[in-house]
Amino acid sequence: MANGPLQIKAISGHAGTVPGKNTSRDYDVCKLVDVTTCIGCKACEVACLEWNGYPFRETVFDNTYQTMPDTAWNYYNLIRFNEFTDADGNFSWLMRKDQCMHCADPGCLRACPADGAIVQYTNGIVDFQQDNCIGCQYCVTGCPFNIPKFNTTTKKVYKCTLCSDRVGAGLEPACIKACPTGCLHFGSKDDMKDLAETRAAQLREHTSHKDAGVYDPPGVSGTHVIYVLHDINHPERYGGLPKDPHVPWMVRIWKGPLKWAGNFAMAAGIIGVAAHYLRFGPKEVETEPVEKGGEQ
C-alpha cells in the first residue's frame, strides 16, 4: 500500500513537465529497538500474542528471566537475557528483543520454492502467506537469524509480520504500542536510522559505552528492524545476534547460478542430442552374419 501523499499526474494549462512525475514517495518502514533503554518488561511479548490471537502458554522456570529458550510458531518475539562479565570484570545484564529482522535481501524469500508463500512489500515488510506454504522449511535454512518456526500440526511456517495488517491501516506495530519505556520506535527507515545514529553518538559521547553503534547488517542489504547496542562490536553477547549475517552461500548458489547451470545443462543436452541426430542420424542396427550353433 502506498504510504505517500497524493501525487500529481497532469496539470491543466501548465507549461513544461509535471513536477515529480515518475518519482516514488513510498518509503521503507523500520522498527528501531533501543536495547540501552529496554527494561525487559515483556509487554511486547504479550502485545504480540494478543494482537495475533495466540493463547498464553505454560512455561517452566529455567534459572533465567527469559520466558522460554526460543521463539515459536505462535510466539513471535522474545526478550533474550544474558548476564555478561567482560575481561576486566565489568558486569552487564543485557536484554534484547528478538524477532524477524525483515531483511531487505531476505534469505527466507530467496530459498522458498513455493509461489507466493513469502512476499516482500515495497515498504520492506517480509510476510509469510501460509495458504501458499508447502511446509518444506527451506526458509529455515535461508534465514541467518533462525527466525521462521514450523508448526508440526498445520505443517506451515510462521514468524513476526511486523504487524503488516496494522501498518497497512496506518497504525504502528502492536509491540511498539505496548512498550512502556519508549525504547521501541516506528517510522521510515531514514528517520529511524537518523534517530538510532543520534542515540548511539549520545552514548559514545556522554557515557562509558564508547563502542555504542547501530546494528543494520549490510550482509542482508540492511534490515527493517535495527538495534542500538551498547557494544556494536559484540552483537553475539545480546542473546546470539549474529555478527555478520548474510544469506547462506549454499542458498545463494542453489537459487542463483546453479539454476542457470542446470538450465544450461538441460538445454545443452537437448541441443547436443539434436545435433548428434542431424550429424550422425539415428543409431542403425547392423545386420550381422548368424554364427552356426552360436548364441541367438
Binding site: C41, K42, L49, F56, V60, F61, D62, W93
Partner: protein, 398 residues
C-alpha cells in the same frame, strides 16, 4: 487517586464476571449482616453499629456516587456560613472544607475531599485539557485534594514580598490591587494575608516554616535524623553499637514476632521486591503473567550458590526466625557479595508473588510459601513502614 493527589473518576468498562462482587457490595452485606445480629442478639455497646447512617440508594450495594457525595460532605440542617454569609440548605453538597462546622450542621467523610462533589457535580469526572499557564497544571482535569490545589505550599514559590522566585514558572503571586494571592494554581495559603504580615508558607506547622530540628511532639523519635540498623542486622551500628536499633521502633507481641541473629546462624541478609511482570498478588490468577514468570524464585549470588552447592533451578529453603520459604534458585551475578566491617556478607532477594491460591498454586505446582511470613513485622515508629526489605535468614537446599 494518584500520587499527585488527583481524584480521577473512572467508569466501569465491563460488569463483574461470574459471582464476583465489588468491594462496596461485600462490605455493605457484611455490615448489614452484623447489624442484624446485633439487633437480634444484642451485645457490648452496639450503639455505633445500630446508629450508623446507612442511607444509600441501594443499601446492599451502595453506588460509588452515593459514597463519593457522602465523603465530600453535605449540610445536615439549614445553616448560614459566617464567613461568606451564604445560606446552605439541608441536603446540599458542600463547596469546600471551609463550610464544615463543629456544631452538627454538616457531615463529611474526610475534610480533604470536601469540594470534590459539589452542587455542580463531580469535579473528579472533569477532563479539561486546557493548561493556560503551560506549566502542566491542567486545573480542570479531575480534582486534586484539597480544594484543587495542584502544588502544596505554593506560597513558598514567592519571595518575602510575594514575587515569584522564577519568572518562567509562576505558580501564584500577591496582587496588591486585589489584595489577594492569585495565579495559575489555587493558593495554598490564607488568600488575603499580605506578604508584609509574614505568615509562613508551611501552613501545617504552627511556626509556618519547615523543620530540621523536630520537637518530640512532631515525631516519635528525633530530634535529628539518625542512623539505626534494621532490627535483624549482621553488623553492629557503626555510629553507636550500644544502641543498635531505633528505641521506639514499633513491634508486636504475638508468637510469630520472633527475631534472629547472626550468632544463631541467620547470617544471610534477605530482601524482598516485586517484578514488572506482576501487579501486587492478584496476577497469580492471570495466565498472561503466569506465562511470563511461571513460579517464584530466590535470587542468589553465584559465590553463595557455589559455597552451598546450589545449582540454578534447584529448590531451596529460606528460613527466618519466623517461618520458612520454599522456591527455586535463580543463581545470578547481579547480586554481589559485600564486605562490611571486614566480614564477607551475602544478600539474597525474593520477588514476592506466590500465595495460597492462584493458577500455579491450585495446580499444585508451587510450594505456596508466603514472603510476608518470612519477614519481620517491625515498623517505623512514624510512617509504620515495615522492615520487609532488610532481615536475616538461613539458606539451604530443600
Amino acid at each position: 487517586m494518584n500520587s499527585a493527589r488527583w481524584l480521577q473518576w473512572k467508569w466501569a468498562a465491563v460488569p463483574t464476571p461470574g459471582d464476583c462482587k465489588l468491594d462496596q457490595e461485600i462490605l455493605a452485606r457484611i455490615f448489614l449482616g452484623v447489624r442484624d445480629l446485633y439487633k437480634k442478639e444484642g451485645g457490648k455497646f452496639p450503639d455505633p453499629i445500630l446508629n450508623l447512617t446507612w442511607n444509600y440508594t441501594d443499601p446492599k450495594n451502595p453506588p460509588l456516587q452515593d459514597l463519593a457525595k457522602e465523603l465530600n460532605g453535605r449540610a445536615v440542617t439549614d445553616f448560614t456560613d459566617s464567613a461568606t454569609q451564604q445560606m446552605v440548605k439541608a441536603g446540599q453538597q458542600l463547596a469546600g472544607y471551609a463550610f464544615l462546622r463543629d456544631d452538627g450542621a454538616t457531615s463529611s467523610g474526610n475534610w480533604i475531599w470536601c469540594g470534590s462533589w459539589t452542587e455542580a457535580g463531580s469535579l473528579a469526572q472533569r477532563r479539561g485539557t486546557d493548561d493556560p499557564s503551560g506549566l502542566g497544571v491542567y486545573p480542570n482535569w479531575g480534582w486534586a485534594w484539597p480544594m484543587n490545589r495542584r502544588v502544596l505550599y505554593n506560597r513558598a514559590s514567592c519571595d518575602l514580598n510575594g514575587k515569584p522566585w522564577d519568572a518562567d514558572r509562576r505558580q501564584i503571586w500577591w496582587n496588591e490591587d486585589l489584595k489577594r494571592w492569585v495565579g495559575n494554581d489555587v493558593p495554598d495559603f490564607k488568600p488575603d494575608s499580605a506578604p508584609k504580615d509574614r505568615l509562613g508558607p508551611f501552613i501545617m506547622n504552627p511556626e509556618g516554616v519547615g523543620r530540621l530540628f523536630v520537637p518530640l511532639a512532631g515525631m516519635a523519635d528525633g530530634p535529628f535524623p539518625e542512623h539505626y540498623e534494621p532490627f535483624e542486622s549482621p553488623v553492629a551500628n557503626p555510629l553507636h553499637p550500644k544502641q543498635q536499633n531505633n528505641p521506639v521502633v514499633k513491634k508486636y507481641t504475638t508468637d510469630m514476632d520472633k527475631y534472629g541473629t547472626s550468632a544463631e546462624g541467620y547470617s544471610i541478609i534477605c530482601t524482598t521486591y516485586r517484578l514488572t511482570e506482576h501487579y501486587h498478588y492478584w496476577t497469580k490468577n492471570n495466565p498472561m503473567n503466569v506465562q511470563l514468570v511461571p513460579e517464584m524464585f530466590v535470587e542468589i549470588p553465584v559465590e553463595l550458590a557455589s559455597d552451598l552447592g546450589i545449582k540454578g533451578g534447584e529448590r531451596v529453603k529460606v528460613t527466618s526466625a519466623r517461618a520458612t520459604y520454599l522456591a527455586k534458585a535463580m543463581v545470578t551475578r547481579r547480586i554481589r557479595p559485600m564486605t562490611i566491617d571486614g566480614k564477607k556478607i551475602y544478600q539474597i532477594g525474593l520477588p514476592i508473588h506466590q500465595g495460597f491460591r492462584g493458577i500455579q498454586e491450585d495446580a499444585g505446582r508451587v510450594p505456596r510459601s508466603i514472603a510476608n511470613l518470612l519477614s519481620p513485622t517491625v515498623t517505623d515508629p512514624n510512617a509504620y513502614t515495615p522492615e520487609f526489605k532488610g532481615f536475616l535468614v538461613k539458606l539451604e537446599k530443600a
